[in-house]
Symmetry: C2
């Protein structure tokens, strides 16, 4: 049953992929317009109010986590932000069909590498119904079909949103089966088993949720990974800059995967450490300090070994002295999650060494770790932030939903004509 649904989605997706970039753009514009229509909005808010009401009742009975309830609400501001995001996506260069390599292999034998959609995306997301619209926007922009499964607590809202997407698809002569809302929990297991039909699972939620999804399927999974991010105050760090960067990286959104978890400092960066400690404490951050840090700041709480390499997700920060750049690199290699690592220094050579040597998706010099984000990188929208090294690394935009194929156009060439004793290839990039 789910297999048939997925195959129908694939076929509908192929139709979308064959359309021009302008047509896909128009589709997103129409969806953004629909979200601005007062009657449509009223329908959305009514459905969301019902979901919230049931959610509150469930939360009162202890059947729903309060954090999920918080993310369930969909107000005018969130809807406007989604519509803005869709319009930004329409402004981006169309990547589908882009030729990324064109090479003549011989006379009349031309090879092209052409970007194309992955095909069918499976999307699983926790409570937030706005995630549905964001992902649908990314999928339609990149010519992919989507099978969606949201949390049961948002089902009413998700049904209304999917209905709006279907109306827009139909109005543009596209098969509504391009975008399917799965409603049954059992459907998720069936979806995860379709590794011959579904090309990518996009998981939206906590890093624990993403990890759980990864363990449940053989299909590749993309989503926010755990982030154990460090900031290293080098001996040549500017104290005021160090303090401001540490506060920004730790406090602006402590639950985010790009938030700072451990502050490393060089013995020569005492003044920068002092400034950072003072500013972080003023911002309400609990600091857990290694013995060398404690010797300088006895007012802090001692750290245990278990405090390093941990994603606190809260206003808690581990602090450790390291022996120079090598000490910082060693600590990060051992405890980091290869997400985002930053150095603060006025010494350009030390910074370049750090940027080159650290093995992480994002490496920063004199900037807050929290810049590691698809919007801030100018990718227009974000599928997730990946700490995997294959395919897409770091913040992933629309191009993470694309693959490529090799097109070879000949005039009857045989491989037997080439090689030992035969014709040589005449490779020439065009």
């Amino acid at each position: 049953m789910i297999r048939e649904t997925a195959l129908a989605a694939r076929a509908a997706g192929a139709t979308l992929a064959a359309r021009s970039g302008a047509e896909r753009r128009a589709l997103l514009g129409a969806l953004a317009d629909a979200l601005g229509d007062p009657a449509t909005r009223a329908t959305i808010f009514a459905a969301n109010a019902r979901d919230l009401e049931s959610g509150r009742a469930e939360a009162a009975r202890g059947d729903l986590a309060p954090a999920l309830l918080k993310r369930l609400g969909l107000d005018a501001a969130k809807l406007d932000a989604v519509a803005d995001g869709l319009r930004q996506l329409t402004a981006m260069t169309d990547l589908v069909g882009q030729v990324t390599l064109r090479r003549s292999l011989d006379d009349g034998l031309t090879l092209e590498r052409v970007a194309c959609p992955l095909g069918v995306l499976g999307v699983v997301f926790e409570a937030r119904p706005d995630a549905l619209l964001q992902i649908v926007g990314l999928a339609l922009r990149s010519g992919n079909a989507v099978l969606l499964k949201g949390g049961r607590e948002a089902l009413g809202t998700n049904r209304v949103l999917t209905g709006i997407v279907h109306e827009v698809l139909s109005a543009h002569g596209l098969d509504a089966r391009l975008c399917v809302l799965l409603e049954d929990r059992a459907d998720v297991g069936a979806l995860f088993a379709l590794d011959d039909v579904v090309d990518l699972i996009v998981a939206r939620g906590s890093s624990a949720f993403v990890q759980h999804v990864k363990e449940s399927t053989r299909i590749p999974v993309m989503g926010h990974a755990a982030g154990v991010c460090h900031m290293y105050l080098h001996a040549a760090a500017d104290p005021a800059m160090a303090a401001a960067l540490a506060v920004d990286a730790k406090t602006t959104y402590p639950a985010a995967c790009n938030a700072l978890e451990t502050l490393l400092w060089d013995a020569g960066a005492g003044a920068a450490l002092d400034a950072a400690v003072a500013a972080l404490r003023r911002a309400g951050v609990e600091l857990r300090a290694c013995p060398a840090t404690l010797a300088r700041h006895p007012e802090l709480r001692p750290a245990t070994d278990a405090d390093f390499g941990v994603e606190f997700g809260a206003l808690i920060l581990a602090v450790r002295q390291v022996a120079g750049l090598d000490g910082a690199l060693g600590h990060i290699a051992q405890h980091g999650s290869r997400h985002t690592e930053a150095i603060v220094t006025q010494d350009g050579a030390a910074a370049e060494m750090f940027l080159r040597a650290v093995d992480a998706a994002s490496v920063f010099h004199n900037a807050s770790n929290r810049f590691a984000d698809g919007y801030r990188y100018g990718l227009g929208a974000e599928v997730g932030i990946s700490t995997d090294k294959l395919h897409a690394r770091g913040p992933v935009g629309v191009d993470g939903l694309l693959t490529y194929k090799w097109m070879l156009r000949g005039s009857g060439q045989l491989t037997a004509s080439y090689g030992a004793g035969g014709r040589p290839f005449k490779f020439r990039d065009l």
Copy 2:
């Protein structure tokens, strides 16, 4: 123990990655030179003769497959071919450190996306000892460390070859632990479990071997995948061209993954079918035909359903009539393995439709399926041919051994300064 080995390899690899492209090139040149040295060659051949002798005894006892024995031999021609391949690799553009995107996010805040090595490769290969040198060449060129595990029947040869690599590394001031030969079968299990240290497994051998490796590890695996490749004779196919292409695609190396397994023909392509059938039979190919094909060629053997979607790996070819382009697309979608699919036609519009609609790593017009190969695509060398859609698709060259990282260079910027009510980003691609 293997973990320590892998960590040492990672550290040694980082040193190699920090070297210039010219230095990595010199390393490969020195390795090619060493393989040309008469004394070195004598040592290699002596070790290989001993492996072959033991292998023959084992094969006689039925303990070694004859096919493995055949691939075990390493003669002057194979060694020359490997040395040539290494020299070709030195001629290629250095991809490590290449900046593939440079974007100003705001004044004094610049983002770069920089290509870098994956880190540590695990390589498992069946009998062929020349595969060891090819993979080491690819790894060194791309700045990666390698842990190698060959078949036990080639152990003597592999030890000598690894020794030569170590001498070259040492002569260039590099840690020999960059390239490690694992000798114990138990080491493979340990290698496959190192998903936090090893970044990619490269598997060299049959598609069944690659599949087995994929099922044994959570580390991403790259290697030749099963190929169920089709050729579709469109109504406007040129008969002589169709016959020559079908023979080339089927007979030049039937065991290859890019060899033809099923010939599809349009009812309007009867003359092309006749020409192909005659030529294939002359070339000794056993044809297994659907009822419509049999009606035209009663001399052929009837096909069963099980003959479609099969990788014969031998001089056997299934033949089926399909209802036009849509019929061909439907058959390929159902039975193909997304490897390499070809159309033969003089009708450019039909060809373009086929190239766009078929979901496969390689799609060809009027060219033999067997062109799907790293050397023939001008990639210089080949890691494998992938039917996966993420990371690398189709023939994979050195770039399949690379990832990228995002480097952000700032001057103290905070994320809190941007967004609602704050500074706008000033995105500008440089």
